[in-house]
């Protein structure tokens, strides 16, 4: 078999890239080792209940009549009408530290007034930072790497305000511990604080279904249970991929969304460099409850909970970090008349976790691993209480995933969600014709990974062939 481009991985970035290339008559094959699409952002069912993996919220919220925003541009490139997502905005989110809380909504003026009330001495600095961010071209692929905290400290002198601003941006989009590249900071700042959170009706399924439908319309093909086991090169250029240790598919280009170290691992040639896997992984407890959070005293959509003066975004020396969490209440988006599409309460508590320690537990025994998952669940109930959730609910169902779950389903080394700490911003690798898209190109999250798939397909395949 011979195609123009093999795309490795049917996650958000691979699907978006596949649509772009198929739209322009490139023969594309997406190969996916799993049996379903979505990658880090997928879904599953237990009994009659449906669960989302990934998606707490879609960043880069747009109103139906907004123009020229990043999400509009992306969907325009894929020719998917924005209205099909049926986006509902968040109610509000909360950054909760021991001595201070900051609320934000999809309207930046709300955050501005919070900061001028709670950090009056910092508001001028914050306004200047906002200006700097608005004028910064964060997606320029030639930007140099600059540490974001150094830049932000030039504008904001209050240490705890710096920590509070970074908290949501780090946990929703940094492969690095405790800091991030300034371009990535600006991407995250705009997508979260300036544009905000929303949820498509039906959750992750809606996004995936829309992408799959579009891929079908333009004739793109996906092969499931097809794991790439070798990338075959000839004279330093990609020539074919090997599937499941046997079948060979010849191709001119490969776009790989499986991560940079993971891609280098299957390369047949001696790699000229070894990208380092990231350190950050997560556990998540999903609780299905008889009562909805609103009836238990919580109307926030997302709470960024941190119980220390500073925010430690780093690999914990314990199975998971109990002192910080992202708590998502999907019932609490701003639905018309509070009519959400869940029949029960859904509470999701995500903690930073240590992959190696979880893997050790698993090696000891399955029972042992299960017992440790119970600890995560018990802790999640305390964190929910600390976020203001009243007792008096019963848990009808629960599910807990760990870093080893992420590794098993997505193949990311170390169970990382944000991939390697070595990104390849322009998508190139030492091998001609082999390009990286998605997580390790460096645009993160759901919207980021679609942007990555689209821009790498444009830059390396479409533009490459039109000139």
């Amino acid at each position: 078999m011979k195609v123009d481009t093999v795309i490795i991985g049917a996650g958000m970035s691979g699907l978006a890239a596949g649509i772009r290339l198929s739209m322009y008559n490139k023969k594309v094959l997406i190969v996916e080792k799993h049996t379903i699409t979505g990658g880090l952002n997928s879904y599953y069912a237990r009994g009659k209940r449906k669960f989302d993996v990934g998606l707490h919220a879609l960043t880069n919220f747009v109103n139906p009549d907004d123009r020229g925003k990043p999400f509009n541009k992306l969907m325009k490139q894929l020719r998917i009408p924005l209205a099909d997502f049926k986006l509902t905005p968040q109610n509000y989110s909360l950054i909760q530290f021991p001595d201070q809380k900051l609320k934000f909504t999809n309207d930046i003026d709300f955050l501005i007034s919070e900061i001028s009330e709670k950090f009056p001495s910092q508001i001028d600095g914050f306004m200047n930072l906002l200006n700097h961010i608005k004028n910064f071209n964060e997606t320029d692929l030639s930007n140099e790497t600059v540490m974001a905290k150094d830049v932000v400290r030039n504008f904001i002198s209050d240490k705890s305000l710096v920590e509070m601003i970074f908290c949501p941006l780090l946990i929703y989009g940094s492969a690095w511990e405790n800091d991030m590249d300034f371009s990535q900071f600006v991407i995250m700042f705009k997508s979260i604080f300036l544009e905000g959170f929303g949820r498509p009706e039906g959750g992750v399924r809606t996004i995936i279904d829309l992408l799959l439908k579009r891929l079908g319309e333009v004739g793109g093909e996906i092969r499931f249970k097809a794991e790439v086991t070798r990338l075959i090169t000839k004279d330093g250029k990609i020539s074919a991929v090997e599937i499941n240790g046997g079948e060979i598919i010849e191709c001119d280009n490969v776009l790989s969304s499986i991560g940079l170290p993971e891609t280098m691992k299957v390369l047949d040639a001696e790699p000229s460099y070894t990208p380092r896997p990231g350190a950050l992984s997560f556990t998540e407890s999903i609780l299905i409850t008889d009562k909805k959070p609103r009836d238990l005293g919580v109307d926030a959509t997302i709470v960024f909970y941190n119980n220390r003066p500073e925010y430690l975004y780093q690999k914990p020396q314990t199975l998971f970090d109990k002192e910080s969490a992202v708590v998502c209440f999907p019932n609490n988006f701003k639905y018309d008349h509070f009519q959400d599409d869940y029949e029960e309460g859904v509470l999701r508590v995500t903690n930073i976790a240590n992959y190696d320690l979880w893997n050790q537990e698993l090696l000891v025994s399955k029972e042992n691993y299960k017992a440790k998952k119970e600890l995560v669940f018990e802790q999640s109930k305390s964190i929910l209480r600390a976020c203001g959730l009243k007792d008096g609910y019963t848990v009808a169902f629960k599910d807990i995933f760990t870093p080893t779950t992420i590794k098993r389903y997505t193949g990311h080394f170390g169970g990382t969600v944000y991939g390697s700490i070595d990104k390849t911003r322009n998508g190139t690798t030492p091998v001609a014709g082999l390009y990286i898209c998605g997580t390790d190109q460096g645009f993160l999250g759901i919207v980021g990974s679609m942007l990555s798939g689209i821009s790498m397909a444009n830059l390396h395949v479409l533009q490459g062939s039109s000139s």
């Binding site: 123009r67 509009n72 490139q77 020719r79 009408p81 444009n458 533009q463 039109s466």
Partner: protein, 83 residues
């Protein structure tokens, strides 16, 4: 032999599909497309790709600037449509 009017109509069809949210019926031929419509460099790539897909017309990268306005599009593309 396509007239300039017909070439213009074919280009307009393409732009209408790309600038989904814009009203393309009032485009001024002399004014840069970028200044009238919500188009960025990614969208100009799409115009080039659509020309190739629908009409087998190749626009090399160094000529992208020729697509700046409707007027320059027609001047540049008419000979290619009629080649």
């Amino acid at each position: 032999m396509l007239s300039n009017e017909e070439v213009r109509a074919k280009v307009l069809d393409i732009i209408a599909d790309i600038a989904l949210d814009d009203d393309v019926s009032s485009i001024k031929d002399e004014v840069a497309l970028r200044d009238q419509l919500d188009l960025d460099s990614m969208d100009f790539l799409d115009i080039v790709m659509e020309l190739k897909k629908r009409h087998k017309i190749e626009v090399p990268q160094e000529d992208y600037t020729k697509l700046a306005s409707m007027k320059s599009c027609v001047e540049y593309l008419a000979p290619k449509f009629n080649a």
